[in-house]
Symmetry: C2
Subunit: 268 residues, 2 copies
């Protein structure tokens, strides 16, 4: 990007998961700017609050961007409404819990509640290809046909021997997910993980997000998890539609005949 | 701000808690830009991902800013490390749990776990004056003397009849918080709330953040809460210093002789 606006955004884009703290010359190099320009723009971003400067003079992302992110309807705002449901799923299943939305051909995690002993280490803001994640499969299954076709035509990266990379098989999977209302997949990214995911609908009834629970395959109870996720996603969708006072995952758990120590979560 | 960079940031600054969805003319008016300029900049921000456009053509904050916010050392990155501790506090106390950092003369909430039946409705990204919040009092108590003096000289807004607005009384409170290691305050923002807050130290030992629990005054157990917060803040600070494997709030609860159903949290 070569416009003035583009140069500011290039400075912000210089930061990433493996580039959380950058020197001025790092920024200039990664943003493709001269040192004086990088210095001027970084300075403006610091005084605005979008960047912070540590005592050593290195730059990192500032709190102003957290405040803005909190306003994203598909970001922290959605997360606010969903949190109690995710929190219950977390304490009921002891698994990794994800709330994700679609962005381009990827899913972005809007919330992640990590299990104490988690193999995967997912973070808010993480991006994954749709075909390789439970939430992505759900969002893809409910996406418009043209978009599905586009993804099915695109290269499908393989992460483990369980990742679905054959278009025909993926198409069958998506049909099954639409029909069953839930995605159950094993080890698409981490071999020993089992993910169960379900759609979250906006007030218009459109699938706007997906929730998932990731547990270890050993000792997992896919059927019970599927019922729990289904009940929770229904309650959360009702909540987003301004429906009845929150129906918690814990009550969903009772509907689903969930056997885990729901007592803890249900009275929270 | 009149520079090109400033105009881009002004477009982003047009969004706020009461302005989550803006038309192009809203943006132009709030950013002090001509309609064509607002249109061009909003367009660049949409293609970058910092803004999203809904079917009705209104603009809102986009996921790209959530991804960036996730990189903020004092934002979602700190929150990642703190979450398990906050989650335990949440389930142990059934209260509102906050993680906050100082920004200028205010505190910004980096994480909020809301109680089911919460009077207050705090959100990530919320800002409050330091003297009126438990986390703010803790951060102010451990701030450099020059900064404390500056805050004590500034007007101290009154939210309830319990808010400390008299500099001398506030100075005594801060000394007591430094000495006791924990802040206990009643109804500084909401009359029927009790807040207990404690400092979180970075690896250098500096107080970098604060955690708090807000419960209803009726039936609250300030002493036990103070012991629980103290134990939790110590464990979290050790964790940030790369210390021993996580000591959870739940075990802190045992140290603190916490009577609540710790069984739920401790085995999570």
């Amino acid at each position: 990007m070569t416009t003035a606006a583009g140069r500011v955004l290039a400075v912000l884009s210089a930061f990433g998961p493996r580039h959380r703290s950058l020197s001025l010359s790092d920024i200039a190099r990664r943003a493709g700017l001269t040192l004086p320009t990088a210095h001027r723009l970084a300075g403006e971003l610091v005084s605005w609050g979008g960047l912070e400067r540590d005592p050593a003079g290195r730059y990192s992302v500032g709190l102003r961007l957290l405040e803005l992110a909190a306003l994203a309807p598909r970001g922290l705002q959605l997360r606010e409404a969903a949190f109690p449901f995710l929190d219950d799923l977390h304490s009921l299943t002891r698994g990794n819990v994800h709330l994700a939305v679609r962005d381009g051909r990827e899913v972005v995690y809007v919330e992640t509640l990590r299990a104490r002993a988690a193999a995967t280490n997912s973070r808010v803001g993480d991006r994954w290809p749709m075909h390789a994640t439970g939430t992505g499969l759900v969002l893809l299954a409910h996406a418009e046909p043209a978009f599905q076709a586009e993804v099915l035509r695109s290269p499908l990266e393989r992460f483990t021997r369980y990742t679905i990379t054959e278009p025909g098989e993926l198409r069958r999977q998506l049909a099954f997910i639409r029909q069953s209302g839930v995605a159950v997949a094993r080890g698409t990214i981490t071999p020993d993980d089992l993910v169960v995911a379900a759609p979250v609908r906006d007030p218009s009834g459109r699938v706007a997000a997906a929730i998932s629970v990731v547990v270890q395959v050993a000792g997992a109870r896919p059927r019970e998890l599927a019922r729990l996720l289904t009940a929770t996603s229904r309650s959360l969708s009702q909540q987003l539609a301004g429906g009845p006072a929150r129906v918690m995952a814990s009550s969903g758990a009772r509907q689903a005949g969930w056997a885990a120590p729901a007592a803890c979560a249900s009275d929270r």
